[in-house]
């Protein structure tokens, strides 16, 4: 019965996500440095997947669906922006200037920096060798 098997895989995937979230949330307060519990859960799951060697099917499917719905999941938090009343015009100006100019500046610097770093690290005559050899690994 393939339907029951699929459902079990989905449930297993969801279960893994919840277990790692709880694991992260429980361990985060014990760590010597502050980190959000869910982020710690993500790092632990990443470590687990690297040790396991592959992504279990159910987990891959559930994660993909969840990430597709990401905009829906954070919609309630985003709606709050229209209810903000305690920011002055000066704050709004600083905010927009920082977001627009700041993003363009950091994009420029990180782009140029990476360009220089990656160029130096490989022979100039074949800059795309490694990216094209992706399938060989």
């Amino acid at each position: 019965m393939p339907n029951i098997k699929t459902a079990a895989q989905w449930l297993g995937g969801a279960f893994i996500l919840v277990v790692f979230e709880l694991l992260g949330r429980s361990l985060a307060p014990i760590l010597p440095f502050p980190v959000p519990g869910s982020v710690l859960g993500m790092l632990l799951l990443l470590l687990g997947l690297m040790l396991y060697g592959e992504v279990p099917r159910g987990l891959a499917v559930v994660s993909e669906q969840l990430l597709k719905l990401l905009v829906l999941i954070f919609l309630p938090a985003a709606v709050g922006i229209y209810f903000l009343r305690d920011l002055s015009p000066r704050d709004w100006f600083a905010l927009f200037a920082a977001m627009i100019v700041g993003t363009l500046v950091s994009l420029t610097i990180s782009g140029l920096l990476l360009n220089a770093l990656l160029k130096r690290s490989r022979p100039p005559e074949s800059p795309h060798t490694l990216s094209e050899g992706k399938g060989d690994e």
Partner: protein, 244 residues
């Protein structure tokens, strides 16, 4: 763990609460409908300016204003979605694992670029806002501007930033990066799709990654990887930085 149980309890309590205009059985369909319409609008316009979060949030706000529902009531009715934020942060590990092979190919220059880019993005923004006299609320919201939303929201909670402002800043930053990033970088003679994707992913997270995928699969993979690594790195650095 206890925190999580309390959250679960309040979600179920909202569902069994007496009927009202902000009951979850009304708020959830409202969110889903607004998300769906926002997505349709985005797909038919094909511009990052109309990212589903823009249309979706405006639609929800319009309905809330008409029905005279205040924000805390709406939040209570949408508890289930807040509950899913944690698992979706954890789920980011999966695409990260799938793209990790790329790191091994490009190695240390990529990691150095990531480290500098992840520090630079919030730093430049905070300095600009500081020079223009922005308040603490604004500065805090800017610290997570280039991080994917679920991680940014978790961080906002950790460092005491306003969640809504954080979500707004993240979405707007992503849109700026996605709209102007590719043409800006091309003008700077950055033609390597790996560099293009990585710079966009570090600065414009998921919204930028969608744009990067339109350029090429390689560009998209680098962007997704940069987004995940930048999120994890920032989540470790920001609380540490703010604590000192």
């Amino acid at each position: 763990m206890n925190e999580w149980l309390t959250q679960l309890q309040s979600v179920t309590a909202a569902f069994t609460s007496p009927w009202s205009w902000h009951h979850p059985l009304l708020m959830l369909p409202l969110n889903i409908a607004a998300f769906w319409l926002g997505l349709k609008l985005y797909r038919s316009s094909r511009t990052p300016l109309l990212h589903p979060i823009v249309g979706g949030s405006l639609l929800v706000f319009l309905i809330l204003a008409i029905a005279r529902i205040n924000y805390p009531e709406y939040q209570q009715g949408s508890g289930l979605l807040y509950f899913l934020l944690g698992p979706s942060v954890v789920a980011l590990a999966v695409p990260l694992k799938q793209n990790l092979a790329i790191v091994r190919q490009a190695g240390w220059p990529l990691m150095l670029g990531l480290l500098i880019g992840a520090i630079l993005a919030p730093l430049v923004a905070v300095i600009i806002a500081l020079l223009l006299g922005g308040s603490r609320t604004v500065l805090l919201a800017l610290t997570t501007k280039s991080v994917t939303t679920p991680v940014a929201l978790a961080l906002a909670q950790e460092v005491g930033a306003v969640q809504s402002l954080t979500a707004g800043v993240v979405a707007f930053t992503g849109i700026v990066g996605a709209v102007f990033g590719p043409s800006l970088l091309r003008r700077l003679k950055v033609t390597d799709h790996r560099v293009l994707g990585f710079a966009i992913g570090v600065n414009a997270h998921a919204i930028g990654t969608v744009r990067a995928l339109e350029i090429s699969a390689l560009c998209g993979a680098f962007s997704a990887l940069a987004m995940g690594l930048c999120g994890a790195l920032t989540a470790l650095l920001i609380p540490l930085f703010l604590a000192t």
